[in-house]
């Protein structure tokens, strides 16, 4: 799997997880998914007065197929 295909897989995995797990569907929606380290991705969902942040640790197998190892939820208040 080439790098771009692998990235697309990772982002799809994260998007599917957000769609399945996030119930607070109002607000400004998903405003960013950013890779912060080799295996950590941060998704930000804008809400009134704060952002919900979901931090994903991703495992890449030898075949290149990504898997979510963990998800941490946090909040950035404004």
């Amino acid at each position: 799997m080439d790098a771009v295909s692998q990235s697309i897989c990772i982002y799809r995995l994260i998007l599917d997880d957000i769609d399945a797990k996030v119930t607070m569907r109002g607000g400004g929606g998903l405003t960013a998914i950013t890779q912060t380290t080799d295996d950590i991705f941060e998704a930000r969902i804008a809400q009134e007065g704060h952002e919900d942040i979901r931090t994903y640790q991703i495992e890449l197998s030898e075949s290149g197929a990504p898997k979510i190892l963990s998800v941490k939820e946090s909040t950035k208040s404004y």
Partner: protein, 302 residues
């Protein structure tokens, strides 16, 4: 008698002049809101402004306020907040406070009707309890990242905030929720395991996980609950305690100390339980017996 106590979040006025055999004391919290416009830069008709006022966040299209749209927005904010929060609670007088003698010569223990007055004024006024800046969103913009001191023109609209367990939309007017914070109320699930008070209580879980909590106005919905009477209860306790330390509500009425004894309550430990239905004033004997009167009672002359 009208008495006033100034709190950091509001001014409170207790009016016992309105008391008679049928009417309770009125406790009015007055909140002075300061409003300031945010307009496009350099006098332009259109421009942008970033979510949360943070340059790192998405920029949204905004348009210039006109005198008419500004006045209409402020008026709607104040009137809709006041309509939502005012006249919804009655506090049951279990303190034996504010006793008065009506024209029928009967001593009464008034309950307290909870009222709210929202005064809109310029953001620069020195005596504002809370000030907000407001952007006017371009009609094409559906959402803007607001916070407690930065609103957008659509924050007075009802919008989807959440989905319950049946995938039903939970709607809310943001300004009504935010006004709860201005009065001192926190999010519905603060203190629960998924929203510890020591953590960031703005986390989405704090807005309610169960359908019931989610629908609270201090969650993601518009439902008012008894616990939302807390600001008035805080204020009435202050008046009640002040009455004790000032030597009684009416030194001219010798019946008062005896009547207070009849009520059999302790001002300092009074709960002032809230109700969302009118409860009529009671005689000391009725209060001592724990009688609650929700239908107009047969009394003597007012």
């Amino acid at each position: 008698m009208k008495q006033k106590i100034v709190f950091p979040r509001f001014d409170a006025e207790l009016n016992t002049d309105v008391c008679d055999a049928y009417n309770n004391a009125e406790l009015t919290l007055t909140v002075r809101m300061g409003f300031s416009q945010i307009n496009p830069a350099a006098g332009a008709d259109e421009g942008t402004y970033h979510d949360y006022g943070n340059a790192a966040k998405p920029a949204r299209k905004i348009i210039k306020w006109t005198p008419a749209t500004w006045k209409a927005w402020k008026d709607t904010f104040c009137s809709s907040v006041q309509a939502y929060w005012s006249d919804k609670f009655w506090l049951i007088n279990d303190a034996g406070s504010f006793l008065y003698t009506a024209k029928d010569a009967q001593v009464y223990v008034p309950n307290v009707w909870c009222r709210l007055k929202v005064v809109g004024q310029e953001g620069t006024a020195a005596n504002n309890h809370h000030s907000i800046d407001v952007v006017r969103l371009h009609p094409s913009v559906k959402w803007f990242g607001s916070h407690e001191h930065l609103y957008d023109s659509k924050d007075i609209n009802s919008v989807e905030k959440n989905r319950d367990s049946h995938n039903k939309k939970v709607m809310q007017q943001a300004h009504v929720h935010e006004f709860g914070h201005i009065l001192g109320l926190g999010h519905v699930d603060i203190g629960k395991a998924h929203c510890p008070a020591s953590g960031d209580t703005n986390a989405s879980a704090c807005y309610g996980v169960s359908d019931v909590d989610m629908n609270s106005v201090m969650g993601s919905g518009m439902q008012l609950r008894l616990e939302h009477s807390a600001p008035w209860r805080e204020a009435v306790r202050a008046f009640s305690v002040a009455e004790v330390f000032s030597g009684g509500a009416s030194p001219t009425d010798l019946l008062m100390p005896f009547a207070r004894l009849l009520v059999g309550s302790n001002t300092l430990f009074a709960v002032w339980p809230a109700k969302m239905k009118r409860h009529y004033p009671r005689t000391p004997a009725e209060a001592a017996a724990g009688t609650l009167i929700t239908a107009p009672p047969k009394r003597g002359a007012k």
